[in-house]
């Protein structure tokens, strides 16, 4: 290395110093440590003992782990597509021939800002509770009142509703994408005699595939890590017969109420692998359906 390179690296280190320390102390180091802990029986009291793959093997016969997987997969695989479909439809609807777009865009965005809070989770728990307004609304149609939050067959769907309700932020990204599509494409298609469906299928949809892809990756990763609504609605546990036991909630219970840090670390690594596999599969499939402008 010559003198100039050394000087450049020195300057860079000055600016990157905090980030670099963070990378080692808060990311890479802890990642290595949690991988190590996942092969131990660490419980915060005694020094960790190596137990090989036992934590991972044990998961297979842990009913709460299996339940948490089922609940989380249902939440992600049902909630995210519904949320994105809502976001996409409303973006298409708002895009043209509407006065006050900026106002509606802002209104539809409000649930995305306020939705992740404890306050809204409390509201949801009340709305879908036995004495909640949802029952009051349904009583008009003669439906018998019940607690939608406490009934294990419906509790998860109240949380999926909460996720779908927060469609504002992907909707704004879709709207920004729609504005990018050149008008000339539609004009050319109109000259060729294409109707609205053909225009949608051959121009709008392909042009938006990169944005659909981006939203899918981001929302899936976020949904896998959802915690607050499940914690509040289920009262810090997994709700009735663990029907709302989100994966992160189970991890929290294992780590911070039972202090089974070894097992919880293994759970964290399984979550990492699941998120990684999903992202990888999406990237693989993207070659088949995502169109990038060349």
């Amino acid at each position: 290395m010559n003198r100039q390179t050394i000087r450049n690296n020195g300057t860079a280190l000055l600016f990157l110093g905090p980030w670099f320390i963070g990378l080692i102390v808060l990311s890479l180091g802890p990642m290595a440590a949690s991988l190590y802990l996942s092969f131990t029986d660490y419980n915060m009291l005694q020094a960790p003992n190596g137990i090989g793959f036992e934590n991972y093997v044990r998961m297979e016969s842990d009913p709460r782990f299996l339940k948490a997987l089922e609940v989380t997969f249902t939440y992600v695989l049902l909630g995210v597509p519904l949320q994105l479909l809502t976001a996409f439809s409303l973006a298409l609807f708002l895009n043209r021939g509407l006065k006050g777009l900026a106002l509606f865009r802002a209104i539809f965005y409000i649930p995305s800002i306020l939705g992740p809070s404890v306050a809204v989770a409390i509201l949801w728990r009340q709305m879908f509770g036995l004495e909640g307004i949802f029952n009051e609304l349904l009583s008009v149609f003669g439906v018998m009142p019940k607690s939608w939050v406490a009934d294990p067959s419906t509790s998860l769907y109240t949380l999926i509703t909460l996720l779908v309700w927060q469609f504002g932020s992907p909707m704004i990204i879709f709207l920004a994408g729609l504005k990018q599509i050149p008008e000339t494409l539609y004009e050319a298609a109109a000259i060729d005699g294409a109707g609205p469906f053909r225009k949608f299928w051959n121009i709008t949809l392909p042009s938006l595939t990169p944005i659909i892809f981006f939203n899918l990756v981001m929302q899936i990763i976020n949904a896998f890590q959802a915690f607050t609504p499940a914690y509040i609605v289920g009262g810090g546990q997994g709700g009735a017969i663990d029907s709302t036991l989100f994966y992160t909630l189970y991890l929290y219970i294992k780590a911070f109420t039972e202090f089974k840090m070894g097992y919880a670390s293994a759970l964290a690594w399984v979550l990492l692998v699941i998120c990684g596999v999903f992202t990888w599969l999406l990237f693989l499939s993207s070659r088949k359906w995502v169109h990038y402008e060349s």
Binding site: N9, P30, I107, C275
Partner: protein
Amino acid sequence: MSRVYAANKGVTAIKTAIAVIASVAMLYPLLWMLASSFKPQHLIFQDLSLWPDVFTLENYVNGWNGFTNITFGTFFKNSFVVVLFCIIGNLLTCSMAAYAFARLPFTGRNFWFALMFASLLLPHHVVLIPQYILFDSLEWINTYMPLIVPKFLASDAFFIFLMVQFIRGLPLELDQAAKVDGCNHIQIYGRIIVPLLLPAIVTTSIFTLIWTWNDFFSQLIYISDPRKLTVALALRAFMDTMGQSAMGSLFAMSILSLIPIFVFFLVFQRWLIEGIATYGVKG
């Protein structure tokens, strides 16, 4: 021609009407909570109306008194302190890192940048437990250090990425002119780049505020001392101790807890929406 125009006008009117109805439906739960917070406790349940027949402030008075002799004033102050330091940390260290990635030549820049980008997709839970053990050994449990210190180590890679994109859009001639005038990198960063970074600084500040204010998971893990609870933790504790009998007060405090982020949203919504549209910010 005029008939087409009239038809379009009709379509616009119908679409606007649908959009208004959808907006009201979307906001109904929030408006209902707002209205209920002004209703007497016994009238809250099974009253769908958005206008209280009997208007009272007792929910706010009772709620503000909090629990175990600690008022919500303390909890709000705690949340604001955490948010303030998180914003300072993010602005300072993320902008420094972004300057290096965007403007400085150094060994392995692409590698480090890729690593930074990859950390965006990393689930936080995989570093959670060792971080907890580390902060515990530093005796930082029940302090705000575990919430604040990571922000001073540029741990929110998303904001680095946002600022890198922004700095790359600034003309290089500015740097070169400053260099000719004898500025070093610290001066270029402080005098040229940071002032021009204002839009990214505003976006970063608002999103840090919203995410930190809404954050529940990290605060739940690190803070349990009643005097140190943040608003999010206090609401949950209030719900657990009071239950259904104090739903009015719980609603009143929930509404208060939403006001800071809502006000910032109203004031800065143009920045927020442009920020999402440009960089694809999550929730």
